[in-house]
């Protein structure tokens, strides 16, 4: 329990750092932040919009510390300001529309990649110097060297444009109505195959190598030799004895990979015009919609922190040593 509280404290601290960064960024721009920010939007926004911006960012004449607490108060209430690109929608509302798709895309890709990569890693270590061990890691390293979004472009060109196997973009077709119907789910899956697939292929190698390397050293341990000597089936030795113990570094890496995969899938979304955060981010960058950009940064950071906490729970469940040290 103390371990969990400590982790929770750490994530709260990280969240605070992100929020504070968000507060100071506009103020780092050369010159007076309020004027600089408004100069960009003059002509694009009416006076009441500017007033809303000013208020959310606490860009008043009050001392910095007062501005800071005003901003913190707004963030805690979930008020991230008004989007410029989607004026007059509040930032949180704009983000909310795309968040589900981003989490779906990145989450599915991460889990699929983790499962396949880790299993391949187990196989590569078990049949050491075998076919999987010889050919898959270098191939995965080569594919992993391509930018995610470039793989996405190629996939879109080959399978979408040339072969026409998969739709060219968006999360679902215009003609299906969203809901828990079979046609809708099937349509979503069909649209997700390419975006998820490219991220999976690009990240597979990392999981494979981590698992393979840990598994190789675990296979040399005495308890694995004992398990073999007892005459347990190879399957049981490989999965229950070796793989379970080798899994820990991969699980620890899971939390860190999440932020990475989210970043990559943002770019992938752009290629597929997938209606998630990445698409919003491009809109925000093009129209210099700072409140939206910062909102996306904050929401993604919070999502990653939450996921990391879940990873901590899982590794506590997996590793008795953490539990022991706690109690």
């Amino acid at each position: 329990m103390r371990y969990l509280l400590k982790r929770l404290g750490f994530y709260l601290l990280a969240a605070w750092v992100a929020v504070t960064l968000n507060f100071f960024l506009p103020r780092l721009m050369p010159g007076d932040p309020a004027t600089a920010l408004f100069a960009r939007f003059r002509g694009m926004l009416g006076p009441e919009a500017l007033e809303a911006l000013r208020e959310t960012f606490g860009l008043t004449d009050a001392p910095l510390i007062v501005q800071y607490f005003t901003y913190l108060g707004h963030v805690l209430k979930g008020d991230l300001g008004i989007s410029v690109a989607y004026f007059p929608a509040p930032v949180l509302e704009v983000i909310g529309t795309g968040l589900v798709w981003t989490l779906f895309l990145a989450g599915t890709a991460l889990i699929v990649s983790f499962v396949i990569g880790t299993l391949l890693g187990v196989a590569a270590a078990w049949w050491r110097f075998g076919r999987i061990d010889t050919f898959v890691p270098p191939a995965a390293a080569l594919i992993g060297a391509f930018p995610y979004f470039w793989l996405a472009m190629v996939a879109l060109y080959v399978f979408g444009f040339k072969l026409g196997w998969f739709p060219l973009g968006h999360a679902y077709s215009d003609y299906v109505t969203p809901g828990f119907s079979f046609t809708f789910v099937a349509d979503v899956v069909r649209h997700a195959v390419m975006p998820v697939g490219t991220v999976v292929i690009a990240t597979l190698g990392g999981w494979l190598l981590t698992m393979r390397n840990t598994m190789v050293s675990v296979l040399g341990r005495d308890y694995v030799n004992l398990a073999r000597a007892k005459g347990l089936s190879p399957r049981k030795v490989a999965l229950r004895y070796a793989a379970r113990n080798a899994l820990l570094p991969s699980v620890t890496g899971f939390g860190m990979a999440l932020g990475f995969v989210l970043g990559g899938s943002l770019l992938t979304e752009i290629v597929f015009s997938y209606p998630g955060q990445g698409y919003l981010l491009v809109q925000a960058v093009r129209s210099q919609d700072y409140p939206l950009m910062q909102g996306i940064f904050l929401v993604i950071t919070l999502a990653v922190l939450a996921a990391n906490f879940i990873v901590d729970l899982v590794s506590m469940w997996l590793d008795p040593r953490i539990r022991e040290s706690v109690s």
């Binding site: 990280a14 930018p147 060109y157 444009f161 073999r228 989210l262």
Partner: protein
């Protein structure tokens, strides 16, 4: 340390030797040399990459080997000229992230206590905040250009190096030779720079290579989003324009395929160089390969375990089990 020059020369010779003897390292070094040559000499051989030389979106032809872009520029010229800035940013950021990571990581690992607690907290926070979104929000507020790109990539990327180097410093901190130096009354600065850091050379080299791979990939991603200077010619802006000119929906694969291949080739080459070095500097991996070669020569099927010193009889039952 009495003859630093010969020491350094011998060290360098070992690396060169490594490249000569390891196929992966040789491949990586070859790729690297090729791209550096392209970056240095290439722009002299091709025309102005921003010049409009022909009809937009033309497939590869004799006049334009890689076709033309959506604006009618030569793709090959853009690819070659783009190499220069992309590699420059990549290598600089690779060096800087390791430099920053080393300062913070080694300080934390060497001094321990509260300094360590604070610095560890700092890099752990930066590790858990997603890098690309962080880089994006900072870059958006700064004037676009190579300096901004390098700056945000360092901010988003240093923490990992700090963490690894801290762990390694911690491992060295308790070794006998460091204790001896402490007892001998050497200053902390001297212990760090001449006792601890030289022992981490191979790790630092591999981190610089890894940092460069990161920097090239992340830089291309940011530029693809339009956060670089979109009027400059770099690999990332090439892809940005390809996407903006709807290259995909018009089937103009030549506007984005070559750039991606170049990025991947550099990244793969650096990764190969790294794993080649790894095998040379890691005696265990080297031993493993030697042991395996020895077993194969003797007509045994190599076992599953990592090498510990074993005699031939131990390999027998191992073999039988593997065949089962």
């Amino acid at each position: 340390m009495s003859e630093p020059r010969t020491g350094a020369a011998a060290g360098l010779a070992a690396w060169v030797d490594a490249v000569k003897h390891d196929k992966r390292a040789a491949f990586g070094a070859g790729v690297l040399v090729f791209f550096v040559l392209v970056a240095v000499l290439g722009p002299l051989l091709v025309g102005d990459p921003t010049e409009l030389v022909g009809v937009p979106m033309q497939p590869p032809s004799a006049a334009h080997w890689l076709g033309t872009t959506g604006q009618g520029q030569d793709v090959l010229a853009q690819l070659v000229v783009g190499t220069r800035m992309s590699l420059l940013i990549g290598f600089s950021v690779g060096l800087i992230v390791v430099f920053v990571g080393a300062i913070i990581g080694v300080t934390a690992g060497y001094f321990g206590g509260r300094i360590d607690a604070f610095l560890s907290l700092l890099f752990n926070v930066f590790l858990v905040i997603p890098g690309l979104p962080l880089a994006i929000v900072i870059a958006a507020y700064l004037p676009s250009g190579p300096l901004t790109l390098a700056f945000v990539l360092v901010i988003a990327g240093w923490a990992w190096n700090a963490r690894v180097l801290r762990a390694q410093t911690l491992a060295h901190r308790n070794r006998d030779f460091v204790s001896a130096a402490v007892v001998a009354g050497e200053s902390s600065w001297r212990i760090i720079t001449s006792e601890i850091l030289p022992n981490m050379t191979s790790l630092i080299v591999s981190q610089v290579i890894g940092g460069t791979v990161y920097a090239i990939g992340a830089q291309v991603g940011l530029e693809f989003l339009g956060l670089g200077d979109v009027s400059a010619v770099t690999w990332g802006t090439n892809l940005y324009w390809a996407q903006n000119d709807s290259a995909l929906l018009t089937g103009a694969w030549w506007t984005f395929a070559p750039t991606g291949l170049a990025i991947a080739l550099v990244g793969f080459g650096l990764t190969m160089l790294n794993s080649g070095f790894d095998e040379i500097t890691n005696p265990r991996l080297r031993l493993e390969r030697a042991w395996r070669a020895f077993l194969l020569r003797r007509g045994h099927v190599p076992g599953r375990s990592t090498p510990v010193v074993r005699d031939d009889t131990a390999a027998g039952p191992q073999t039988a089990r593997d065949n089962a």
